[in-house]
Amino acid sequence: MIYKIGIDVGGTNTDAVILDENNSVVESIKSPTTLDVESGIVAAVEGVLKKTNIELRNIRYVMLGTTHATNAIIERKNLAKIACVRICLPAGGSIEPMFSWDDSLKAAVGNQYYLLHGGCEFDGRPLNSEGLMKEECVQVLNEIKHSEVESIAITSIFSPVLDSYEKELEQMAKEILGEDFPITLSYEIGNLGLLERESSAALNASLVKVINKVAIGLQKALARYGVDAEIFFTQNDGTLMSIEFAKKYPILTIGSGPTNSIRGAAYLTGLEECIVCDIGGTSTDIGILIKGFPRQSSVSVEIGGVRTNFRMPDIISIGIGGGSIVREDNGRVTVGPDSVGYNIIKDSIAFGGDTLTATDCLLAAGLAKINHPNCDVARLASIKPEVIENAISFIQDKVSVAVDRIKTKKEEIPVVLVGGGSILVPGDIEGASEVVRPQYSGCANALGAAIAQVSGDLDKIFSTEGKSREEVIKEAKDQVVQKTIDAGADPTTVEIIEFEEVPIAYLPSNVIRIKTKAAGKLLNPTLEVTNL
């Protein structure tokens, strides 16, 4: 039997699980998340390894979902000095790279940028008839070489249509800056929309030092226990990346936490299409799984105040949780969005405090029970019944509306409830075909990390000039499948999990934009390693 460890860093806890090759949970642990994140990860790994009696050398894979990247951006810490190179001239001069960024973030990454000739039109026709101009590129790259810059982001106009300009400049950069100099190509992470894609690439470039640090820390901790496992990071679409890949694309780890929770929760129920509500102490995260993967957000997402368009899971967060504060104002009862959080076991009325919380209301109505020595329902006797009733319907309403908003169509689908606050929704949810409350949902997030798959995606405008629509669709599907195999998937398991044709206004009908994604199981699974 071989094993894998899944680790997920949450706001409060860092969870770790050990799974066997059938994805059954062997051992799990919860350990507090630390300020530096790293020591919390190490503590969780050591904790779970100490608990188990399996053969440690049979642990072959470690999957880590971490918040390092987000923290680095928000705290402006450990960020690399970057140069943003935009291949755009003779277009693209009106707004410089990083224009709308906060000054402190600009300062943290160095605010260095260059505009070069090149890039193309929507149909691939060159913007600058000669393409890249070698002398200009060499001059800029030499300037970068002799500056403090540690990492560069290259963004070319319409690179999601034609990536050759970014690749060509990358080659030149490698010659001048060295083979190992970190280079981010925008077409590999962002979608159409130059400023948002460029910002995504720039943030990615600024994060290249972050992954190395955590990977080394984790490798050391594992080595102490004689574990020689391959380390993967989980990305925010519920799939995996190798350390090498993660070093290149650290930004794709952002948002992996909620994704891991959602996928783990769904895995516990065996459902592939469902809505997952993760109800915590302060807030509720709601996401939707389609063919086992979280749906992507279709709008631009702000990270640390920067508008980006790299893929992110579509998550709706509402300020309802177990500790949400209940208020009455002129007969109107509201719940949240502020919360007593983890102080619920001393501040809420049932626990002897003086703040009325959402949990208090459920307890008073007899809809929930808590076995805790300090919890006494008798303390709730003096609360007006109409306040309790209104608070419960307020919660019910907020959750139902959010569940409905995450749907794309009217059909009823199952809703999975997980998290410590899930007692807030004791009954049915409007629009749910069934409400599922899986057992052992405590380690859903780490489990979600451990079961992650390999994927590839594509967002590209295709011309149907001289080709049939079917041929173009096939071309797109072939490309995305190849991308997935390149990312490390077992070719026999690769499946298209998303496919969308997006209409474009004010263009002739012979171009189509296709967004698609494929995923498959990690190649080289159990067999070859079992006879070690």
């Binding site: 693209g92 039109e121 929507f122 004010y506």
Partner: protein, 372 residues
Amino acid sequence: MARWIGEEDIEDLSIGAALFGTGGGGDPYLGKLMVQKAIRKYGPIKLIDPSEVPDDELVIPTAMMGAPTIMVEKIPNGDEALKSLRLVEKELGKKAFATMPVECGGLNSTIPFVVAAYTGLPVVDGDGMGRAFPELQMETFNVYGVSGTPMGLYNERGDHCMLNALDNAMLEHISRGIAIRMGGVAHVALYGMTGQEVKQTAIPNTISLCMKIGRAIREANQSKLDVIQTIKETTKDSIYGEAIVLFKGKVIDVERRSTDGFVRGKAVVEGLDEYENKNLLVEFQNENLIAKIGEETVAMVPDLISFLDLETGDPITTEGLRYGYRVTCLGIPTPQIMRSEQALKIWGPRNFGYDMPYTKIEDIHSVKEVHR
């Protein structure tokens, strides 16, 4: 009368312009950044009332035409529309006194401000659509006899042309083709006209109204006031009529398809509160065209039909509309200048394929007309 426009005014403009975009017109976000950048570099911009333009002076409106989705990828240099304006000046042999928007809804509300920042020209507070429309002959300028010709077109590369057409419908038709070949977007200057023509044909004060509404939405949001109420009050004091709430509900279906370069489709909204057990249907061609509750038509083009987020009051575009959104559907009576017989021949329901005469939104809702 004249006022100086700074970065915050442009922020407000982009919100108001999204509402007046009636679901289309392109996201003003990129235009907003371009103006803010230009203001940082060249200083504030002068916005003048149409009455401040001397009768014999020349005003040349500027705009972008083509696919906004292309423009957000191939971002401009900022001087393209200005170059087109220079081209028209040269053709007419006269310098422009000011520039002006052709469309106050969506992205095109911002383009003249970029031109103005670069040149120091003032922007005339008015436009020719009073909202967003899909085509360039859909202009009060055209309705009341101004020629769009000569028209200057530039792309980011510097490819350009001077287009002279015999009528404005042909001007639209030919320039649309050129815009596609120019890479999907052209930055244009057209409908050059005298100050006197501006006063006769432009819809006055639409830009300052967009800013006022944008500010009202922003401030109402900050102080948790009723956004819809503030929009009603603001529109009531304008050449538009008081906004009417057509419907409140949840989007249950959105259908979009791309034909001949337009995004056509419909949205179905299921009623909430007093609209329970009713469904609203809104059909669109880039912009929202017609709203029906059951069999009854409750608003139609050229009156403005816009969706707003039920809670925040933020305008929602047809592209952003999705299942499950809680929305208010708002109708705003269009100004009288857009309701004349000649005007309705250009943008009445029949021009969008609806075999029915235009009925004013106020008449449908039998609200007393407050204005003129």
